[in-house]
Symmetry: C2
Subunit: 182 residues, 2 copies
């Protein structure tokens, strides 16, 4: 049964869209076979729940979101603990509006400061404060532990290798432009 492998074809009210009237695919859809379907459901569950689990750990133990952590730790690893908003947005895989809001909140909490770029009046430089550094330092161990618990501990060394390769492959399609500078 499933809207991915077309077992529905034999179900009640069978009416299958042959020449795509509303959608995009110009020709007959390539449905998923049973193995692909099972894989997709398992993977989709991970996509749906793992981010929430990571957020929950950081939220409860440090009072910050996963995205907050990404922003601050990225800054902490940059020269002078400083980055232009645009570069930071790329590294954090976010748009500028979102980043602007998040940095605003982090600034209010005293962990980040914004200053105008002296070499280009349009740019804004975001810098991690000492308090921000301290926050990252005390938050990192718990977060890393959670990543390890949820992702690495359940996997064998071989699976880990596969996961890496496989993730890169997928990302190449999802965003071909993405500088994989990480």
């Amino acid at each position: 049964m499933g809207w991915y492998n077309r077992a529905m074809e034999t179900s009640a009210n069978t009416k299958v869209p042959d020449p795509g009237a509303g959608g995009s695919p110009p020709s007959a859809p390539r449905w998923l076979n049973e193995e692909e379907r099972a894989t997709w459901f398992a993977f989709a569950s991970v996509l749906l729940r793992l981010p929430g689990a990571l957020d929950a750990q950081l939220q409860h133990q440090a009072g910050i979101s996963h995205f907050d952590y990404i922003v601050m730790s990225t800054l902490s690893e940059s020269p002078g603990r400083t980055l232009r908003m645009g570069s930071l947005a790329v590294m954090a895989e976010s748009g500028l509006p979102r980043l602007s809001q998040v940095v605003g909140r982090l600034e209010k909490r005293g962990w980040v400061t914004r200053t105008a770029d002296p070499t280009d009046g349009r740019s804004t430089l975001a810098s991690l404060t000492d308090e921000g550094w301290e926050k990252v330092v005390e938050t990192a161990p718990g977060h890393v532990e959670e990543v390890r618990r949820l992702v690495f501990d359940p996997l064998t060394k071989a699976q880990l290798k596969r996961l890496n390769e496989l993730s890169r492959r997928i990302m190449i399609t999802v965003d071909p432009e993405d500088r994989c500078l990480r």
Copy 2:
């Protein structure tokens, strides 16, 4: 460099949290090695961007979110195209408040109806209407095509098998209770 493998230790302002004062880990953190770190960054990118890509396709071609699609297709595969809200919530991996709102919107659009369960006055039954069925029928091919393009086409058959196994392993840790009824 990174807040996962502790290369930061040798960075400016080195001060490493030894006995966790604020976090949870009772002993020294088990940092990630270089391979684990690279894998995590690649995988995190996928977690961050793939859901958005799937949403975008459905939004542009059908005017619904990925979650809307999950809800309606789950109903379409259920006996009588009907499910109790609670069961639907479990299958869609969502909480009841969110589901209630989404079903409310789908109801306004004429794709779902809610009726009281005759056997238990507390329960609500959500059913897919004929229009809802039609919507799923015309949306499915384009969505499946996108899943294939983003996830399966870039992977070899062997990688696909790994992805399945690996996703299940991770889900077992993320949510041990989860009935893997899908």
